[in-house]
Point group: C2
Chain length 374, copies 2
């Protein structure tokens, strides 16, 4: 009976899947257990891509560092016991943050003149490692090709004075999912940084999976979406690379409804069936972050079998066809994405978006629970 009272949607997070994916990605980069190869930043921005930082951390313990946008998340990771490097990729730090030994070993992405000046003023007991960011073709902050050498020279002066711990070169590709564009972006960065000492950090999930041999030549990789078992490319699934989804989104059926042939289902009355249907009412909707934009027929799983959404997703309810599944009962849980049989990539396609948007778009209404499926 208790299952009748599980009220809302729940994202089950499997840290073992994340750990598995990290091992797989290391293999792609030529680094098995105990081998050599690039170091890995595990990207845990956006609350670990919606998985919940606390739930994801046990899965990334073997990473060489954690990369994130927000300094608040950096403090959370330290509070959870993370002692290896942290890479801060977006926030501007206060002088108090820069001086806080808790954040160290700290790597900072330097992307504008304000940050250069801050570092030139700063003298603390701990000193950060810095990564100079190239604006590239993304143009989300970073130095242009014209300004990059001068910015490097200023950082190099700080390095000589032992006021930064090291200098690396970093960029975010704008089109890593397009082989030709990726090659052009790589080439431009190689040209730009020729003759400038320092490690490179440019390769993300898409670049690594598309061309592992090239990615393996850099010193630090940044992997986000693939770490969570999701493809960075539209139109295929991460299982093609042996990666496992780390999140399974589930919600309970709270009632059943028999709907006569020709009657509408849902707001707007857009869906009508030509025959009588048995409908399951599922306690999940767009207020949970489930995409309102999914096309009719979007798949779901219940009791191991695939069926489909019928009618428009509403704020707190979605409706699924149970006509051929008479054994299903209120209290049964429906998998909305995330098992091997129903990858989130498929739902993203049905919603006209990308998987990262679905994962990170789950709202606070959705409980996150750790559940190791192996």
């Amino acid at each position: 009976m208790t299952a009748r009272y599980v009220h809302g949607a729940c994202a089950h997070i499997d840290p073992l899947a994340i750990a598995h994916n990290l091992r797989r990605l290391r293999e792609y980069a030529g680094k098995g257990v105990g081998g050599t190869g690039p170091s890995f930043w595990a990207v845990v921005k956006a609350d670990a891509y919606g998985h919940g930082l606390d739930h994801a951390l046990p899965g990334v313990l073997a990473a060489d560092g954690l990369a994130m946008t927000s300094v608040a998340d950096a403090y959370r990771c330290r509070a959870q016991g993370w002692t290896k490097p942290i890479l801060l990729m977006g926030d501007r730090l206060t002088a108090a943050d820069l001086n806080d030994p808790v954040l160290y070993p700290l790597h900072l992405v330097v992307q504008d003149a304000w940050q250069l000046e801050q570092l030139e003023r700063f003298s603390g007991a701990s000193i950060p490692h810095v990564w100079l960011r190239f604006a590239g073709k993304l143009n989300h902050a970073g130095f242009t090709a014209c300004d990059y050498p001068a910015a490097y020279a200023r950082l190099h002066a700080l390095f000589i004075a032992a006021r930064v711990a090291g200098i690396g070169h970093l960029q975010h590709y704008a089109r890593a999912d397009d082989a030709k564009q990726l090659a052009l972006e790589r080439h431009a960065f190689t040209e730009l940084t020729a003759g400038l000492a320092g490690h490179h950090c440019t390769e993300n999930s898409a670049a690594l999976l598309a061309s592992p041999a090239i990615a393996a030549q850099t010193q630090w990789l940044r992997t986000g979406i693939a770490l969570y078992g999701v493809s960075p490319f539209s139109g295929n699934c991460a299982s093609a690379w042996g990666l496992k989804p780390a999140m399974s989104l589930q919600a309970p059926i709270f009632a059943l409804q028999d709907v006569q042939a020709g009657e509408p289902i849902g707001y707007g009355g857009a869906f009508r069936s030509g025959r009588r249907l048995r409908i399951g009412l599922v306690r999940c909707g767009y207020a949970d972050g489930y995409p309102r934009a999914v096309r009719d027929g979007c798949p779901v799983l219940v009791r191991g079998r695939k069926t489909r959404i019928v009618g428009r997703v509403s704020m707190d309810t979605l409706t699924i066809d149970l006509t051929e599944l008479p054994e299903v009962r209120p209290g049964d849980h429906v998998t909305l994405w995330g098992s091997g049989a129903l990858p989130v990539e498929e739902i993203a396609l049905a919603a006209g978006t990308i998987a990262a948007q679905l994962l990170t778009g789950l709202t606070a209404q959705v409980a996150r629970r750790s559940a190791s499926g192996g």
Copy 2:
């Protein structure tokens, strides 16, 4: 300088706007201060339409009752000091919940046979008021026209035995935004309930605003979206009815970027400008719930002036055109929706969705703060 360090997006909630909207809606229903007219359920489901229950409650103190989906939210409202009726519209209650005097005065929507049986077994010190739900054209739970009279008879027997406090008739319209369909749905319900004693609760924001004279003939209205100052109809804004937006979504500019003519901006490289642009990088993205699907040119407000998004919205950044706004600096806040000059309805249109999806889709990354703008 402190503004430089406000890191993320924030939704400013104005409870005075909600209180104003409730007064306006009462006027539409023919009930001014001290007058007569229907009672109002203020719908606070989905964390008060994304506004945050705690922030919205001070705005709905004058409502006659609060309506919600989840029993957990009912307990939160009681903990906040709400003593008037609560209407539970979705969750199945445990016997312990039904017996908990804290939840009373309690109104329950009865939508399936399981609930009827539960009430027939139940005998507690406090007894709930019940609302029998018609499946209507929505078919999200509720009794069909065939089953409704028998369900009513069973509830009536409980009422005679003083085991429920009262019986009302309730439905959710499937197409309240379409005048002709609304008239048909109203007519069907009037026919169905003819001769059955009890109050009616059928009219929502759209039905009230479209035909206030008809809505005013019912005893309890349920208003959700309009209460938050947002139109229930696509293509127009709630200001047309004198309603005020209760949420303003803002995010800081964390850096500026000069982009040469012909260079791309954002992932995928879909946007290129024919001329040099000055870009503001705003700390808000789809992981906050801002819609990734907005078309290029979607408006934003900064320093009171309208400008536009250029390039694709990414996980934690969106890029706006500041070429004609040279006075804007990092640390300035951008309004993404919610002021009178930039209604959320306009953003919903640009994103191909509805305003309720945007409001309720904000994630836990977005801070909610109370801010009374009057």
